[in-house]
Symmetry: C2
Subunit: 706 residues, 2 copies
């Protein structure tokens, strides 16, 4: 069955509405591009003023076109877009590309104009790309559709590219042409009024000619759909993405640019990590990943052999590769013995294998032939600094002869070979990507390694525990919330308890002597904190004293806390809560924060200082899988403190993981919390002593379903 | 007066010994390069077998040359180098460049050969570059010396370049030629047997034609000299460097490559930071810095205006700039009012100023004219994504017309303009550097900003305190050191005390009851640790218990420690030391470690966990200045814990700084310590409670001067 987007990417006939004779105008360039790329279908220029454009008969309106029209491309003034779209609907057009600008990207008025256009599109069951876009490309030789106004018709290949910025799309296609990267399809999605990056991801996932997907994104239309679609796609094809708007100011620029609300960057990182999308920082890195994955197999591991004719680049490569998490095993004695048969005596028979400056085509061929046999290596990097004494093309030919179809991934580095290097040209033509600097190879491998690690790990599952949902409803209903909508103290711990999360029990005292009695009961050391609800909401009061070991200390602490609490409101009485102090434990923080785009982000970190000062904290988009919880915990820099630092026994990580999952379930079950802070959640070697000591829930203004 | 290196870089006459008629041979290429660059002096080929080379009369030996010879370039088999160098000495040659390889880079035998050559060089008071080098360039149009075997004669300019790898030198010159970067002088220093990077830094510092210095280094010959020379040079000219061998494996590759011992990478970072050298990670970044600083003024601040015709690149630039520590103030209302007079209504009048896609030459000129007047901006970044609708050369011309000689630093970004872009060409010819991607501009600015921050800060001074040096001598002389040469316990604290560093006093107890008495004396809480020297050296014994608050706790602790100590050796008795426990304090670690190249590195960090797990630790090469100590402290991620975290009063930072400086003086005064670990050094808000609680000194095998 024909996919509805096939009418856009594989149309049998295209109407260019707003086609123009004026050279340099967008309406001219798009028609021109379609014609010179030798589109395989029919093209109908539409323009009420010119009966002939580019020697082709033009029609006053799309309704006048004598044939069926699958796709209409609109380059008309913004005010005309809506009526023209309606004409397309009446004509029976299936797909629309609106290149015209002046819609949601320019403010509320434009937004309204865009919504009106969208209504007409929906009314006629059409699909639309844009408005405010650069067009699309399908470089399949059986289609050859270049419906953009760019200067470059990309080489046919297997890279699918989705870009939210038209300018970036053009810049990227130009640069890709220089690097010899070939595309299957390119889509500039503009304001994404109808067709979104999600729709295109699904479409590219199904497309047999696309094997790598690149994205340039400024925001997510529907991040929750993106999560599902990106994950399903990543499992079959690698996706690499640049998501701009990382910084607040960058996000502001993105927001004024696209009219979209930019999400928290930690959310984007979490989302990409969970869905296997390779996030790269720069457009340059996006190219590097594309150059590598479009022509070479995904490496089966991270073990690299470097072969070079120059020491310096070999060292740079080694530094960069090791820092990127690659391994460089040494050569086997057998390989070394073979290499010694023909190598210079000055060569360095290690990894990097430095053949020294005299090495020419013969040495490259023999050395690579010897090394490619070593099963331990997954990746081979031949580095060549062309000296005056050898013909670089001959070296390139030998590298290609030796390394084509080895099953290993091959990335060449020709340093300082010049822009028009025949050696680089030869290798690229034969599907060996060539980098100018060795550091870029390392960065690319690190990115790809992250993807393969994601692919090979267990996918994990969202777990559901037996919990007491009704009890949480009851607590929320009865709770006296503070002005900020916070549920704190015992109520907060009760919510956790209802979800099977262990909490440290409280007992209350209204006087110092009562406190002493309770402490003796619980057994020393104890923790004392202010219990009066009204004071609890005053976060500026330091309301906790820990590690009290004697009657005297308990008595003093009671008076100290009363002092700190200050003047009480009328009708309020002062009381403290006393808890057992768990020793030999590590303080963690478990929580949730809400991102405007992604919804709830689960959070985990160690102690207040690690989270607040060291910024050592892990996020995951909810729902959280068991695998995701494990990864969150392990991703912390402070993780060693949980596994037995300085001879201490390791804490019960299974309980930490389960607690994260139970909290994740609570967040799934109740959408009324905008923030949760379980702080501290004490963890220790034995399960019984892993307990939430304090918690705080912020409830949305709209409240919970009771 | 003529500098001795002038005979090498500005010779009046050059002998090419080993010049050859065989095309492609090094001896051929060097002579060829000298001739085609139109060297301003006389050239004498020397070759016993060919009477004429390149139509020039050749001489059998250098002794046969009829004129004086300033510089001899040797491309002869390694065995012939020594006798030929002697001939040069006899001839009165002043400078030697040995291109021939087969010396210290190939092992001990080569090293011996190199030392013999060096002896002859010294005997005749000559200076030598190499062996195993790529040659030198002086692109001064009054000299025009290209004594390399590379394919590129670099453009004349103001960048001085020192490279330890010949291959890197060639690769870099080729790439620089593509970017239009001009050089004053280039020196490939090879094995650095005589002339080192330090010599060349000094020489380039004096050279009026050099205003930026680039270095590619694999190791430091004499890092202590480098410290002084690099610092003096950085004060007058910016230096940017790639130092490879960052990772252990990379360092191993560097070491097998150059025969040099690679230093600790933290040492290199510390050294560069202290001396104002801009350390960049990749050769690509080295170019970017060169492209920026060679033609544009050093920015007077970090406030950037971005002007773009495309939203996407504007956002990418903003993200990258903000992440790199730049500031992007918004436009003033006055500027906005002016811009509105001619801009598209769809433009976004913020920073980045997005002129939207229609912007052409006129808009670039008017917009940049308006923005350059704003005094708040130090840096202007015009971004241009060439659309089909405008001529990019015209835009480039307008950018140049508007921004030449504004006193501000200008970096242009032409994204996707193509490799042979006439716009890029035009700007580069007119000294405006052009980058393809905006992220590279941000990285470059961050690097340069680090340099200007260094330039503008107080230089700091090495302070000298009144200390009791004799007492330290006494302690070392009498000390019973452990098997590992460690001075620990009271002795170690006494050394600190002699240098005016506050220490927490000890009192000793041989029984639990004695301990209880002392604790009552000192006042609770107290710390107890094992005092028996033999046990102290057993680091695996957990010999400290803190925060003891009662008689019972002290008694239990005594027995617990005795248990941990285990079986005592004959003649050994068990005792504990008791100290006051300082509360409300932060634990820091102050120390020193020795780097094989750089000597003592001073170290500072917080608590054991921050140093050991979080790797949050600062290093500086000794001697440490007061400014350096301040920077060390502030550079920690955990620094906020010292300045009053969560309402705690800030600790006495002046005492921390002074302690670092006093320890630095101790390290200067006594060269017998290979490691010092003051751990913990407790710091609190009041000076009296900033104290070293424990310390450990490792003494070199050779011992201290007593």
């Amino acid at each position: 069955m024909k996919h509805e987007l096939d009418y856009i990417f594989k149309p049998r006939s295209v109407a260019v509405i707003g086609a123009s004779r004026r050279k340099g105008s967008i309406g001219h360039e798009i028609l021109h591009n379609i014609l010179i790329a030798e589109f395989d279908g029919k093209v109908f220029p539409v323009n009420p003023k010119s009966p002939v454009i580019h020697s082709i008969k033009a029609y006053p309106t799309v309704l006048d076109v004598p044939d069926e029209v699958d796709l209409a491309i609109l380059i008309v003034p913004k005010e005309h877009v809506k009526p023209v779209v309606r004409q397309c609907g009446e004509k029976g057009v299936k797909g629309i590309i609106v290149v015209s600008a002046g819609f949601s990207e320019v403010g509320p008025e434009g937004k309204a104009r865009e919504m009106e256009v969208l209504e007409v599109v929906r009314e006629y069951n059409m699909r639309m790309i844009g408005p405010n876009c650069f067009g699309i490309v399908n470089a399949d030789p059986t289609v050859n559709l270049n419906a953009t106004f760019g200067k470059t018709y990309p080489k046919s290949g297997n890279v699918g590219f989705i870009t939210q910025s038209g300018a970036m799309g053009e810049a990227i296609m130009n640069h890709a042409a220089e690097l010899g990267i070939g595309f299957s399809m390119v889509a500039s999605i503009g304001n994404k009024a109808d067709i979104s990056s999600n729709d295109l991801l699904e479409y590219f996932k199904r497309d047999p000619r696309t094997s790598v997907i690149l994205m340039y994104l400024e925001n997510f239309g529907n991040p929750r759909n993106f999560t599902r679609i990106a994950l399903e796609t990543s499992l079959v094809k690698p996706i690499a993405a640049v998501k701009s708007g990382r910084t607040k100011l960058g996000a502001k620029a993105a927001s004024s640019h696209t009219g979209a609300l930019a999400g928290l960057d930690v959310g984007v990182d979490a989302l990409f990590e969970q869905t296997g999308v390779m996030r790269v920082d720069t457009v340059e890195e996006l190219f590097d990943v594309a150059a590598a994955l479009s022509v070479q197999p995904i490496p089966k591991g991270n073990r690299v052999a470097v072969v070079t004719n120059a020491g310096g680049p070999g060292i740079l490569a080694t530094d960069a590769l090791i820092n990127s998490g690659m391994e460089m095993p040494s050569l086997t004695p057998g390989t070394i013995a073979e290499l010694k048969k023909f190598s210079s005596a000055d060569a360095s028979f290690s990894n990097p294998m430095d053949m020294v400056a005299g090495a020419g085509p013969r040495e490259y061929k023999l050395t690579l032939d010897a090394i490619k046999k070593d099963e331990r290596f997954n990746i081979i990097i031949p580095i060549y600094v062309p000296p005056v004494t050898h013909d670089q093309l001959k070296v390139a030919v030998k590298i290609r002869e030796s390394l084509t179809d080895t099953g290993k991934s091959v990335y060449a580095c020709f340093m300082g070979a010049g822009g028009d290097s025949p050696g680089i040209e030869h290798l690229r033509q034969h599907n060996i990507p060539v980098f100018i600097f060795p550091e870029a190879i390392a960065g690319t491998l690190a990115t790809i390694h992250g993807y393969t690690t994601w692919l090979n790990r267990p996918q994990g599952e969202v777990r559901t525990f037996n919990v007491d949902r009704g009890r949480v409803n009851g607590i929320i209903a009865k709770t006296v919330k503070g002005k900020d909508g916070a549920v704190v103290g015992e109520d907060a711990l009760d919510i956790l308890d209802a979800y099977g999360i262990q909490v440290a029990g409280y007992r209350y005292a209204n006087s110092a002597e009562e406190a002493v009695g309770i402490a003796a009961d619980i057994s020393y050391p104890v923790v004392m904190k202010i219990a009066s609800p009204a004071i609890l909401h005053k976060t500026e009061v330091r309301g906790v004293i820990v590690d009290l070991r004697s009657e005297d200390e308990v008595r003093n602490a009671f008076h100290e806390l009363k002092n700190r609490a200050g003047e009480l409101e009328k009708g309020e009485y002062f009381s403290v809560a006393i808890q057992q102090m768990i020793t030999g434990a590590v303080e963690t923080v478990i929580g949730m924060t809400t991102d405007t785009s992604f919804g709830p982000l689960m959070m985990f970190g160690l102690g207040g200082i690690y989270v607040e000062v060291m910024k050592d904290v892990a996020f995951r988009v909810n729902p959280l899988t068991d695998q995701g919880a494990r990864e969150m915990i392990k991703s912390l820099r402070s993780y060693p403190l949980l596994t037995g630092f300085r001879g201490a026994p390791p804490v019960d990580l299974a309980t930490v993981e389960e607690t994260l999952l139970r909290l994740s379930q609570l967040v799934r079950d109740f959408d009324c919390f905008s923030e949760i802070d379980v702080n501290p959640f004490i963890v220790s070697p034995d399960k019984e002593n892993c307990k939430a000591v304090d918690a705080r829930f912020i409830v949305h203004d709209s409240g919970c379903r009771a």
